[in-house]
């Protein structure tokens, strides 16, 4: 149990996060006086109004500002909530309509499963917005998704949102896998070119990379909360995970671009593709190669402990 003159672990971690993120923000944006968090920046107009109204400049006014800020944020989130609720309603109607059409054989089963996935995604998004509103109301500041963000009243909103994101991405990855299986069958039957199969494979890799990024962040979050990793290390590892997964996606995209270039070369020989098409395909390959180069440099910089933009 924390003694009276010791900071609570929650406060200690929160302040460590604030200090680390203030440093990071200053590094990133090179703003000499950027120590104010978004919370403070958003509170500025409220503070000015308070002064004009004669609210007085007292230390206790911090709590007044906080209440006003919470209300402003909650109003913003209510707009997002209404939008998310409408999206769920639209998705529900769409699913009912698709089911009706599938029952009479007008809509294919693929349409039905797509409508089901759309509804699931809308429901998960709605849950995400609701979580954000709860966090704003409890903490009085904008919701934070960084893996080093503090707990709010002993509740881990970051982890809860990551779990929702994981569900959403897992559904997208399943969808991409199913599409790949379909494309494989069509390719085997000679109904689709190799490039389309590669596109489907690249999409699977991209989705799986996104999923791995979220899984990595979830694990990091657990470690940070358990106190087995510091805020600085957690930030470094998060950047590394994101960059490594981006690299995997970029490598798949490069392979796809190279195959496309080969296909266009063949088509050009038989007059089915123009010089412009060939140049475009070549540019695509070069662009992907640059992406990979940049990501490799970024990974090396993170591993060395430099900042992602290359500054020490």
């Amino acid at each position: 149990m924390t003694s009276m003159h010791e900071p609570t672990p929650e406060f200690e971690r929160f302040l460590e996060w604030q200090v680390t993120s203030a440093l990071r923000r200053q590094d990133r944006f090179a703003r000499p006086s950027a120590i104010e968090s978004n919370t403070y920046l958003r509170a500025v107009p409220i503070v000015l109004i308070s002064i004009l109204l004669g609210a007085g400049v007292v230390m206790a006014s911090g709590r007044l500002k906080q209440n006003q800020l919470t209300r402003v944020l909650t109003v913003q989130q209510q707009g997002e909530l209404q939008l998310a609720q409408m999206q769920v309603e639209v998705a529900q109607k769409q699913l009912a309509e698709t089911k009706r059409r599938a029952d009479v054989g007008v809509a294919p089963l693929d349409d039905l499963s797509e409508a089901e996935r759309t509804l699931q995604a809308a429901q998960l998004q709605l849950q995400r917005v609701k979580l954000t509103i709860e966090e704003v109301q409890l903490s009085g500041r904008p919701a934070q998704d960084d893996v080093t963000a503090p707990l709010v009243n002993a509740r881990d909103f970051v982890l809860e949102r990551l779990q929702l994101d994981e569900q959403m991405l897992a559904a997208s990855a399943d969808e991409a896998e199913k599409h790949l299986q379909t494309m494989q069958k069509r390719f085997d039957a000679g109904l689709t070119p190799n490039v389309e199969l590669l596109e489907a494979q690249a999409a699977v890799i991209r989705h799986m990379s996104d999923l791995r990024t979220i899984e990595g962040k979830t694990e990091l979050r657990r470690k940070f909360i358990a106190g087995t990793v510091s805020a600085a290390d957690a930030t470094k590892q998060r950047l590394l995970i994101s960059a490594q997964n981006e690299l995997r996606s970029a490598e798949a995209a490069l392979e796809l671009a190279q195959r496309r270039l080969q296909e266009i070369g063949k088509q050009k020989q038989v007059g089915m593709a123009s010089e412009v098409d060939a140049v475009k395909a070549q540019l695509e390959v070069l662009s992907r190669q640059q992406d990979i180069e940049r990501l490799r440099e970024r990974i090396a910089a993170i591993q060395k402990g430099s900042l992602p933009d290359g500054r020490k």
């Binding site: 010791e6 302040l15 203030a22 440093l23 104010e36």
Partner: protein, 171 residues
């Protein structure tokens, strides 16, 4: 100012100083944890800003303590003396005379309020002796004064504090 890049050392300094800084502030907040947290947070945000621009101070812990002290003084100066309820003014003055040792949160707050009204040199001297429990000999060495001079200054500071509190209670 130290020459090492501040951003590399700040997280480490944070971990080394957060406990002592919090304890320093908390002992002057009369059990008001939100106040202690606000002061520590504000101190650290100011530190990040200042250290990034000007480099690390030679003794970061002293820098932090000094800023926290000033924030507390600003806070208490803006406060009115707290109502004492059932506690008598004699009881308060007895605590001032006997070295600030009290279980009463109301009396503690009144003492902090009084300390904030004193000139900085006097309040820091009283805090060093009564709250940080630094012996007269050590204070004398730090201030390059004789022990006798420190004792005299402590006595005068206590008298001034007593007068301020007495005056506030009489109003």
């Amino acid at each position: 100012m130290a020459t090492e890049p501040a951003e590399q050392r700040i997280p480490e300094i944070y971990r080394q100083t957060i406990g002592p800084l919090y304890a320093y502030v908390s002992r002057r907040c009369a059990g008001d944890r939100p106040l202690a947290e606000d002061v520590v947070q504000e101190t650290w945000l100011r530190a990040v800003d200042a250290w990034r621009r000007q480099g690390l101070p030679d003794t970061p812990a002293a820098w932090l303590t000094s800023v926290a002290h000033n924030l507390l003084v600003s806070h208490y100066r803006r406060q009115k003396p707290v109502p004492l309820g059932s506690i008598t003014s004699e009881a308060v003055l007895a605590v001032v005379d006997d070295g600030f040792d009290t279980e009463s949160v109301e009396i503690e707050r009144l003492i902090y309020w009084g300390l904030a009204q004193l000139p900085e040199r006097q309040s820091k001297l009283l805090e060093a002796f009564h709250f940080d429990e630094r012996p007269v000999a050590r204070i004398a060495a730090e201030c390059r004064m004789s022990e006798r001079a420190v004792e005299g200054r402590l006595r005068r500071a206590r008298l001034k504090l007593r007068g301020l509190i007495e005056h506030a209670l009489a109003r």
